[in-house]
């Protein structure tokens, strides 16, 4: 227990007639800032580790970046020239430190192949992946949470059994199969209510944008919704066994209020953790779905960069993915503070 815990034993008056507000607040602030500092240090370490490791791994890849960039028919002289232009002849550590220096000044370099600045390339891809990831997560939660709550309220009944079976089927199907089925049904063989491929920016045409992301988002969402339903259902079922639920019933609260106001929040912690992890993963791009639906997201950018040895693009993309991942996890931690008062004092 920390010094933010103000309460003594039964009936004991609290310390001081002025109330513990003053010193307690200050203590809380101190804790919070220590927490934030710890998380930032953590973030920095993760970023250094991720970027350095990817530098090393790209360097270890078979094949020579200079050869790839110069083209297959280049003479050894041309290759050497490319190598010097790209400074690939310098030692790995020097290049890494150099890149790191660039990052700190906001310069991530440019693509070897196209000459496009890395920031610009990322700027094109990140919004696409971000939109897919966020919409798919929201869809998964919007579908899974009500089903889970109802299934937990009436376990083993029709809704529970049906959604469990459907969920398992959806989760067991590989994404490319599910995606192709969706394309056949909604954008091909049977009907063409939705576009099969391509991506329209929201700012160019909001409606076309939404239409273009429906199928990819559904493809991404199905397996997650199934897992979320299962997870929340079982957490909820154990919450419903708690005494405080019996207390809530004995107050005369109706099932709806008990489920939503008493049981949902204390049951949602593992769901939130998992959903955060998934969001971080999805933001890093989803190669299969992006490829299937021809969507210019981060996943495709990363895969192309690997094939082309376009290591500055790759570094930039990985840097973003790592930042996003850590940031989302920090956000989840903060969400815990909001949702569970018991965590607050441990911070």
């Amino acid at each position: 227990m920390t010094d933010t815990m103000p309460v003594g034993s039964t009936g004991a008056p609290p310390a001081g007639p002025a109330g513990p507000a003053g010193p307690r607040r200050a203590g809380k602030r101190r804790h919070t800032s220590r927490y934030v500092r710890a998380r930032l240090t953590h973030l920095l370490l993760v970023l250094l580790a991720v970027t350095f490791l990817s530098f090393v791994v790209v360097d270890l890849l078979p094949g020579d970046a200079a050869v790839v960039v110069a083209g297959e028919n280049a003479t050894p002289e041309q290759v050497q020239e490319v190598r010097e232009t790209l400074q690939l002849d310098r030692p790995l550590l020097i290049r890494y430190v150099d890149w790191l220096g660039g990052v700190l000044t906001g310069d991530l370099g440019s693509s070897f192949r196209t000459g496009q600045p890395v920031l610009e390339a990322l700027g094109e891809r990140i919004p696409v992946s971000l939109q897919l990831a966020v919409v798919a997560q929201l869809l998964a939660l919007v579908i899974a949470v009500p089903l889970a709550v109802y299934s937990a309220y009436r376990p083993g009944r029709l809704v529970d059994r049906t959604t469990m079976t459907l969920g398992f089927a959806g989760a067991a199907m590989p994404q490319f199969v599910l995606g192709m089925v969706l394309i056949v049904v909604f954008a091909g063989g049977f009907s063409s209510v939705l576009p099969a491929t391509g991506y329209t920016s929201f700012f160019d045409d909001p409606l076309a944008n939404l239409r273009s992301i429906i199928l990819p988002c559904v493809t991404l969402m199905v397996a997650e919704a199934a897992v979320y339903r299962q997870l929340l259902r079982s957490d909820m079922i154990s919450t419903l066994q708690e005494d405080f639920i019996l207390m809530a019933r004995s107050k005369g609260l109706r099932p709806r209020a008990i489920l939503l106001r008493h049981a949902l929040r204390p049951s949602s912690f593992s769901l939130i953790t998992l959903s955060g992890v998934n969001l971080g993963r999805l933001i890093g791009g989803t190669v299969i779905v992006e490829t299937l639906f021809a969507i210019p997201g981060l996943g495709q950018l990363i895969v192309q960069a690997v094939f082309n040895r376009d290591y500055l693009i790759l570094q930039g993309a990985l840097l973003f993915v790592a930042v996003a991942y850590v940031a989302i996890n920090m956000l989840i931690d903060l969400l815990y503070l909001v949702l569970d008062p018991r965590v607050r004092r441990d911070v």
């Binding site: 005494d243 019996l246 809530a248 004995s250 107050k251 005369g252 204390p266």
Partner: protein, 380 residues
Amino acid sequence: MTAAADDPLALPDPVEPPAAPGEPLLVADDVTVRFHTRNGVVHAVDGVSLDLREGEVLAVVGESGSGKTVFTRRLMGLVTGGRGTEVGGSVRFAGTDLTTLSAARLSRIWGAEIALILQDPMTSLNPVKRIGAQITESILLHRKVSKTEAAKRAVELLRSVGLSEPERRVRQYPHELSGGMRQRVTIAIALACDPRLLLADEPTTALDVTVQAQILDLLADLQARSGMAMLLVTHDLRVVRSRSHRIAVMYAGRIVETAPTSTLFADPLMPYTEALMNAVPPVTGPNHVRLQVIPGRPPDLIRPPAGCKFSPRCPYAQDRCLTEEPPLRDAEPSGPDAPVHRYRCWFPVGSPAWAEAKARNIERGSSAAGTPVTEEMVLT
């Protein structure tokens, strides 16, 4: 058995029962709850009948597994039939049979007319909701009041259950309070809408002894002031001695003895009641006396003994006890308006038949069920 002043759980003078009005507030008739499990049918509550008048405190006493908790919840309608649970009998509350009401009708009575307090205050409050919200919730549900008024009432309630700084408490979360304070909060929640009947299911079992006495006294005080009826469920005869008007002793899902508190303590007829009394460490008298424990375990509710359910553990058990279950019958009335004293025994404690049975068992060194019996064990 005079309680000494240093026993925090006993008070010297038993309270007087309230004047008997007409129709009892609560009449439970032949209440039965059976759970169908993989191993067989559990007879958790087996034909329990009792009644409770306005303003009366009835203690239901029994070991764990005697069915008292299930019975309490069945009274309220929190245990219902279906899904492997079989229920029977009727529960009339203020003239209405609760067992026939829909869930919606019941929930209008719950919290408003009948309230419940559970055993463990560490688990009976929602950990993620503020205490104030957990109190106002039922006020807002059952009374036509504004949120501000409900919040004011919550503060008053916390003050009335003896919590310091109630204005601050309403904004706190359960984990910020100690066990005793939390139980005060659950009492405040239960009393939020001035119920006519309070079901307190082992309200102090999870608390430490000094706090137990405080909570019991608080309950007794609030009960006396509001005039509500209270069903006090406990496994500890001591705590109800001075805090109840009547006692019903439960064993194996049945009532085995019921009497006004003073009568029961003065003249227990059922050997199980006697055993419960002897199992309480005496406050007066020499130290380091071997405590009389009840031999054996509570009976298997799936395959209960054939005759008297207590016979396998009873030091006075005879052959008849093993085969024939005694009915719940009236004790010999000692006067024209003698209080109702019922018991379930072939050899009621203190009777000539009992003395004979006792002598026989001491002589052969065991009861008819084979439980070893020595003279020391039956010193009554």
